[in-house]
């Protein structure tokens, strides 16, 4: 379904965009299986309308948004972001959405709130990976993620409801997902049903599964290798095929230097 939106060039890159067919057929969404083409094969089972997204926890005004609210409450804008996967490939994707900060401000976080926890839909009838540990890679569902409140309030942090100007296909996290472009892709949780403000660092799915490989922060960082592969460079999946020379250097914070002040006094190889 086409969406109405404005363009935000100051946040966008002009790098070659990854074609829609690739963005929507090469996904990690273990709720539908661990192969890259499983989500596009099996996510059509997902019912995303009706939908309910709850914002609760340490807020003055808890909110519940239904499917239409997601698309109509905030003015939508298009942002062309680089997406860097922890597996060392990357894409360039035009997302349509609104800043998470706008949503959080409406719920009015209490001063005690320090972190934001996110949760994906848990519906085993429609998600084959949640029905079987074997299909879902042994992940404990629902999938959960988290950000520090200041990261969540950063203007780059987007709640996306669409890509390429149309509503999200289910394999990309319909009807609403998070996009945090300076962090590895697994932080950008899909098909979100709940956003909870807390005073403690919330658990995150990949950290629970392998804490030595995936940290809470998961900032893109060419200097901190994944224990099993280098993060110094990445393969950019865009229009090229097998012979594309698409290996490029990975940049700190995926090239989004404006977030550096968030981590001023932190040792980022310890808090990876």
């Amino acid at each position: 379904k086409p969406l109405d939106f404005s363009k935000k060039p100051e946040f966008s890159t002009n790098a070659t965009q990854t074609p829609y067919e690739k963005v929507s057929s090469f996904n990690n969404f273990y709720e539908f299986g661990t192969d890259k083409d499983d989500p596009s094969k099996y996510a059509d089972k997902l019912t995303y309308d009706p939908w309910q997204l709850k914002i609760d926890g340490l807020v003055e005004k808890p909110i519940t948004l239904d499917y239409n609210d997601l698309l109509n409450t905030f003015a939508l804008e298009e942002r062309i972001y680089r997406l860097r996967c922890v597996e060392a490939w990357s894409m360039v994707i035009p997302w349509t959405g609104f800043e998470l900060a706008k949503l959080l401000k409406q719920a009015k976080p209490l001063s005690k709130a320090k972190y934001v926890a996110f949760e994906t839909l848990y519906r085993p009838d429609e998600m084959r990976g949640q029905r079987s540990r074997f299909v879902g890679g042994g992940v404990e569902y629902p999938y959960v993620e988290g950000l520090r409140l200041d990261e969540a309030m950063h203007p780059l942090t987007l709640m996306s409801v669409g890509l390429y100007g149309k509503t999200l296909p289910p394999q990309n996290g319909a009807p609403i997902r998070l996009v945090v472009p300076w962090k590895y892709g697994f932080k950008s949780i899909k098909s979100v049903v709940r956003i909870t403000l807390t005073d403690k660092e919330p658990p995150t799915t990949w950290n629970r599964l392998a804490a030595n490989e995936y940290g809470f922060y998961a900032n893109v960082n060419p200097e901190v290798d994944h224990p099993r592969w280098s993060q110094a460079s990445e393969r950019r999946i865009d229009t090229g095929g097998l012979f594309a020379r698409n290996r490029i250097d990975t940049k700190m914070f995926n090239g989004y230097q404006e977030v550096a002040p968030l981590y001023q006094d932190m040792n980022l190889s310890r808090f990876y």
Binding site: T18, E21, K22, V23, S25, F26, Y30, T34, K36, D37, E87, W89, R133, F134, G137, G138, V139, L209, A210, D225, R228, W229, S230, A232, S233, R235, I237, G241, L242, F243, R245, N246, R247
Partner: protein, 213 residues
Amino acid sequence: MRRLLARPARLTRAQILTGKTLVHLILAGLLTFQFFLGASNQLGADPVEALINFTGLNAVHLLFITLLVSPAARHLPCGDIMRYRRLLGIYTFVYALSHLLVYILFELQQDWSLLASEITERPYIIVGLCALLILTALTVTSFESLRKKMGRRWQSLHNLIYICMPLVLLHYSWSQKTIIAEPLVYWALAALVLLPRKDKIRSWFAFSKTRRR
């Protein structure tokens, strides 16, 4: 039917030759076709990952098939299928070598310093390379003339295939992001293939120990 099975079937030279030609056509054909699909950008969003998975996974499949030839020859009334074992073993090597080449040429894109650091720092890649080294050694000694010349040492060298299997599966499991994934099925199958040979494997280990002394 029963009478047909009771009498061991012998294959004529022509039949064996036809069979071997078919094996070549299928295995070389599939590999070439997959590279053609990759080159013409018909392997989905990331042809590199698709080719790495295709060559790696099918090398594992071929290793299983190769290891099944001798028990099959023993239990089926057609011992002549043993004549296909070397060919299947060599194709296991060819697929495994293609797997490494895809990794170097298309995944790392000839970034030699990255290759050097990856093969020294990443244990799962080292394990995979060890398995490929074994396959290489078996392939270059697979000629009939060398087999005769090497005598008993040929058999003990080629028994390394039993070590190759767990190395390959370790490489595969380790490359995954989660432990519960497809490789588990292959470990179970490997146990089925290797357990009936446990006496042979044990005696071979004993043999190599006494020899070292």
